[in-house]
């Protein structure tokens, strides 16, 4: 497989997120020719002066034509859409506006700008949902049954639905969505990572599903590959090998606090609602049922082979947190 060519002028939304910000940095460091155009409200400090920021609020009603104009003027040829909240907040309305309506605006603008040929969207494998009747490996054509209690995944699944309709209507565009499983690594931080950061980790009594993790570097590499090569459609991303939750905790030397789920779902209800806007099962069901993904499509179409296995990704997260504690 050829190494493919990077877009010359790449627009990125969501520079404040891990994927948006770190991909921009990575490309600027390694590829001197590339020009990165930031679309959003503000820039992280590390990127100031290195990318050109166009102030756009994706939630504005007319954001699509503003975006189209910018893409046209900057002669962008690809867009990485990463403006999704890493961790759900209780601002349910706000994230709906940003993640679903904002994505719609991004799609429409991509179609309207003349030079565009590629759209890469940072989705998540959580859109499949964790269910007792999931097959052991979820392939990309599996139904998206995002957890009905999770507002962000509900929106994300709906967004993907719209995305594939959009891709059908615009065959001139290469539309890719990346669905990584949970990400771990030395710097990545989200709700999941925070749940696993303590010495004691709450688990569900009597359940011990197989889990996958993707290393943060692998995630960035996959995004870069998706920008280089044309792999239309959804792509699952995960480290090789799946391990039971109990084994992961044992590897990390963490204690587990197994609680019966009816109890946990009741005692954590208000707290979870206050912090994430969702009932606790929107998160804990992913520690209860299987949602392991099949990654052969990313390997075949993208030539993406993760450098870290699930175990290595997990251990790199664990070790980095341990060091941080001693510092």
């Amino acid at each position: 497989m050829s190494s493919g060519e990077l877009p010359k002028r790449l627009a990125i939304t969501g520079l404040g997120t891990f994927v948006g910000g770190r991909v921009a940095e990575r490309l600027l460091e390694r590829e001197p020719e590339i020009e990165v155009i930031a679309l959003g409200l503000h820039l992280p400090h590390r990127l100031e002066g290195r990318v050109r920021l166009h102030r756009v609020d994706l939630t504005e009603p007319a954001a699509d034509s503003v975006l189209a104009e910018i893409l046209e003027k900057e002669r962008c040829d690809a867009l990485l859409h990463a403006a999704f909240r890493q961790t759900p907040t209780r601002d349910v309305e706000g994230s709906h506006e940003l993640e679903l309506i904002g994505s719609l605006h991004v799609m429409n603008a991509t179609a309207a700008a003349s030079g565009m040929r590629k759209l890469v969207v940072a989705s998540s494998a959580q859109v499949y949902g964790a269910y007792p009747d999931n097959p052991n490996f979820l392939c990309e054509d599996h139904r998206l049954r995002a957890h009905p209690d999770s507002h962000s995944m509900r929106d994300r699944a709906e967004m993907e639905g719209l995305l594939w309709l959009f891709a059908e209507r615009h065959p001139q565009l290469v539309v890719t969505s990346l669905r990584p499983c949970w990400v771990a690594g030395p710097t990545f931080d989200d709700r999941v990572v925070r749940h696993f950061s303590g010495r004691t980790v709450t688990t569900l009594l009597g359940y011990d599903p197989l889990m996958q993790f993707l290393h943060e570097e692998d995630l960035l590499r996959a995004v870069e590959l998706a920008l280089r090569r044309d792999a239309p459609g959804p792509l699952n991303l995960a480290g090789d090998g799946a391990l039971p939750l109990s084994t992961l905790l044992r590897l990390a030397g963490k204690r587990s606090l197994p609680l019966p789920h009816p109890l946990l779902y009741r005692i954590d209800f208000l707290n979870s609602l206050r912090r994430t806007g969702d009932a606790p099962q929107a998160f804990y069901d992913y520690l209860r049922f299987l949602w392991v993904v099949d990654t052969s499509r990313a390997r075949d179409l993208l030539g993406f082979q993760p450098e870290y296995t699930t175990k290595e990704a997990w251990m790199s997260f664990v070790v980095s947190r341990r060091l941080r504690r001693y510092r």
């Binding site: 007792p132 009594l205 359940y207």
Partner: protein
């Protein structure tokens, strides 16, 4: 206080058990755990149910094999024992993976245990992937209907699913080995199934002579005498792969396999002198 908590936690989750390995296959089988459980499996096989496996030598050696068996006895002991019989008595010592019903595949405490010793949730995708990766598979086309049938229906095969196993065997060129398990129906003889229990509890509750009468003791399976009879392998080598999607062919073949297993069952049941002794 901390020690008390630790002790309790270990009791509950068994988290610090030695012998949980870090290398686990893609469907969750844990070789080290299996080795530790081997003693218990041998005990169940040799002492408790005194399993007699007949016809193991007919099982082919280097072809994909799909075992199709009658389902009995509520909990998946039959799958376990078939897998154990093949692993012990077949010259290849391969341990087939057995498919388990949804409610067991997610039943608290049972799920981690069954997954670790080789159980996989029964669905078309899983069976297909297992065969494709070179595993042998034990399937129970009757499913729940077989596991939860009343005692007076024992050894009468229920409807054989929708014939998914036939399409699978045709597509993957697998050899179907019919299996008749005799003795499984008596480990938890189901007298009555409260119809509301699945709705109220989320799991089917079965009334057996010992459960729930004796409480947790009633969960101990009764020590019936088992016979596992492996039938003549059925090959699909000369069947065009399009037949996998031909409902009439699938249905016909399904019934043929079902009748074969019913015949095996009838003859094995006739052979035994009592439920408890051979």
């Amino acid at each position: 206080m901390l020690e008390l908590y630790e002790g309790l936690r270990q009791r509950i989750s068994g988290g610090e058990r030695a012998g949980i390995s870090y290398e686990i296959d893609q469907f969750g089988l844990d070789p080290e755990y299996l080795e530790r459980a081997g003693g218990l499996l041998d005990f169940l096989y040799d002492r408790w149910w005194r399993v007699r496996a007949v016809g193991v030598s007919d099982i082919p050696e280097d072809e994909p094999v799909l075992f199709v068996a009658n389902r009995s006895g509520v909990l998946p002991y039959d799958g376990l024992m078939i897998a154990h019989a093949v692993a012990r008595e077949h010259p290849t010592h391969r341990r087939p993976r057995f498919l388990i019903a949804d409610w067991l595949a997610t039943l608290p405490f049972w799920q981690p245990l069954l997954t670790r010793i080789g159980g996989v949730r029964a669905c078309q995708e899983n069976a297909e992937r297992l065969l494709a990766s070179g595993e042998w598979v034990v399937a129970f086309p009757e499913g729940q209907k077989g596991a939860l049938k009343r005692y007076h229906d024992r050894y009468r095969l229920q409807r054989f699913g929708r014939g998914g196993f036939v399409s699978l065997a045709v597509r993957r060129r697998a050899v179907v080995v019919p299996v008749a398990v005799v003795g499984g129906e008596e480990v938890h003889p189901v007298l009555y199934l409260p119809p509301l229990a699945p709705h109220l509890l989320g799991v089917p509750l079965t009334i057996t002579p010992t459960f729930p009468l004796l409480g947790p003791l009633g969960l101990i399976p009764l020590p019936s005498q088992w016979r596992i009879r492996f039938g003549e392998p059925i090959r699909f080598d000369d069947v065009a792969s399009e037949r996998a999607d031909d409902p009439l062919y699938v249905n016909r073949t399904r019934e043929r396999v079902r009748n074969t297993i019913q015949d095996l069952l009838d003859s094995e049941v006739r052979k035994r002198r009592s439920v408890w002794t051979d």
